[in-house]
Symmetry: none
Subunit: 194 residues, 4 copies
């Protein structure tokens, strides 16, 4: 049942989501209990269930929110750039930057992939993301700048490189974003050109 929230209510809700996202990413979804969350905020346990029907639902909302945000960032970065290859480059860089700023979200997405209850949400998100990339790649193929391969496969490859470098160098080793982005861009553009 959708609840009508006051100003204060909306603030609480956001507070819960932020707090939970951090705890989930730090200790893992399963190791974070609802008690952990409400204790961290210093509120009663009922508060949680006033705003979310269940722990799972909260997690799903976090996932959805993260994806919405990432996509917004990508679109903003790409703007109305005409060259498909440049669009892809801008997309990779924006993604890298966003992962850098939202490490916790990154971890959550990784986890969500391993639990049946969340794979659906993820699948929807992925479809959109891959769809975006595919459009640019098709443009690039038409323009003769990208090898004539199945665009979707190329898109997956680009995403694979970006995510992997982000995890290893941004999350685990905390290296400078720009350099990591440079490496990803270089590898991907070469991979695409064929």
């Amino acid at each position: 049942m959708e609840r009508r929230l006051t100003q204060r209510g909306r603030a609480r809700r956001t507070e819960l989501m932020t707090c939970a996202a951090r705890l989930f990413s730090d200790q893992g979804f399963h190791s974070t209990s609802v008690s952990d969350i409400v204790n961290t905020l210093g509120v009663g346990k009922g508060v949680f269930y006033w705003y979310f029907p269940s722990k799972d639902d909260l997690f799903i909302e976090i996932l959805r929110g993260a994806n919405r945000d990432l996509r917004r960032r990508q679109q903003a970065a790409i703007g109305d750039e005409p060259d498909p290859l440049v669009r892809i480059e801008l997309g990779i860089r924006a993604t890298m930057q966003w992962f850098h700023e939202h490490r916790s979200s990154f971890t959550l997405i990784q986890f969500a992939r391993t639990d049946d209850r969340f794979t659906d949400v993820l699948a929807q998100n992925q479809e959109v993301a891959i769809g975006d990339a595919v459009r640019h790649i098709k443009d690039g193929i038409v323009a003769g700048e990208i090898a004539d391969q199945v665009p979707e496969v190329l898109a997956e490859a680009v995403v694979g490189v970006t995510e992997r470098l982000a995890r290893t160098y941004l999350l685990e080793r905390d290296e400078p974003v720009t350099e990591v982005a440079d490496a990803a861009v270089a590898f991907c553009l070469n991979g695409l050109k064929g």
Copy 2:
């Protein structure tokens, strides 16, 4: 405590590991209880704790075993091939094939990355895997066949592409291994050459 096992004992142990691996990958590590495992095998709960000190330990052993197996496969595939690029190609293909044959292991590795208790084991495994790839890449750079970039970064990129394509096309969509491997190889070799 290391236990001295009889012939039959070793068989039981393996049976437990195989069964657990399948259940973990099907339903997730957390959703699979020790009871699930022993019930599936139709044995008592004591059996489990006779062979493994804890559920975590069992999982770690599974991970270790999987990695040992994958590496063996890669090395066998590469043999003493002299050309570094071909070595990389053979490695990618062997990996793809192995993922195809051991889907469940793939899922488990994905999961292990999201839980602090297992990241250590994974890190060790990864180090070895990346180390292998790095050697080939360095050879390739020396031979002038690969762009002069940080070899480790390139290795990560290759692994990123391989894993991603494996997950999307082998696990989720069950497409023919060879084609997926072809795509991975093509993208990676281009990405490496610069």
Copy 3:
């Protein structure tokens, strides 16, 4: 604290009681939360506690009201009929009719009997009801129309028949009231005459 209510206030109060009675009888007392009640009416939770000190109190009031109503109906039906047996018959018929029109109340009374918190209220109600019947029966014995047995026991038997037939045929099978009442009357009058 007795509250002085405005016109509108009394309406609200009645609305709450009616709504709660329906929910209690549909889903059971325990399975109906105060939230359910106020949500059904589309009001805030404070409203409930403005009109009733607690959920239990509300239920008790509902019980009292139902009984008051039933008794009024019986008395109206009996009027100043002189023949004791006819008085009993009219009472049975009125009761049956009332159960027919107030199924939910019937269910609530059944439930109340199983919970210590409400048995007191019920006991009082029962005493009155049995008392009424006992008077008619005594008159009947004096008039030689009813067997000379302990009047209270006979009264209980009559109530037993009436309630049972009401539950089985009115509530569970929704059969026509008159026929059910006929059957109850026939059995009871025979039972009484001895």
Copy 4:
């Protein structure tokens, strides 16, 4: 999943059922928590869930067991008595005696009627019980000893009288069984003869 129980296991299971039945009937089903049950027995909470999948299931088993027992008692009492009216009388007396000895079961049945989760079980039980009575009544009608009315309705009336007198005089006032049974028999036989 059906569990294979040892001697000791079966004893525990019975112990749990007996204890729970008593607590349910003393304090009510809802007011008795699983913790109450296991604490009363001085065992851990897991024990409960080792033997029963849920609190509801336990309750259902108790209901089924009680009914099985009551019916056995009725059949034993009736034996191969040829006269239908005497059979009914013996049935009423046996029932009364059983209610006397199993007060707690009586309360439980009353409660079960008010909760949707249990009405199914009850309905099955009732069908059997009414069916038994109906057979005797039909015989009685054929023999000309019972009024020619719908047998099922008569059966319901008999049950109504028996239950009501049992509740009022055995449970609430603890009067001697034989006298209560006498009263029930007298009223019912008269009611049946018409």
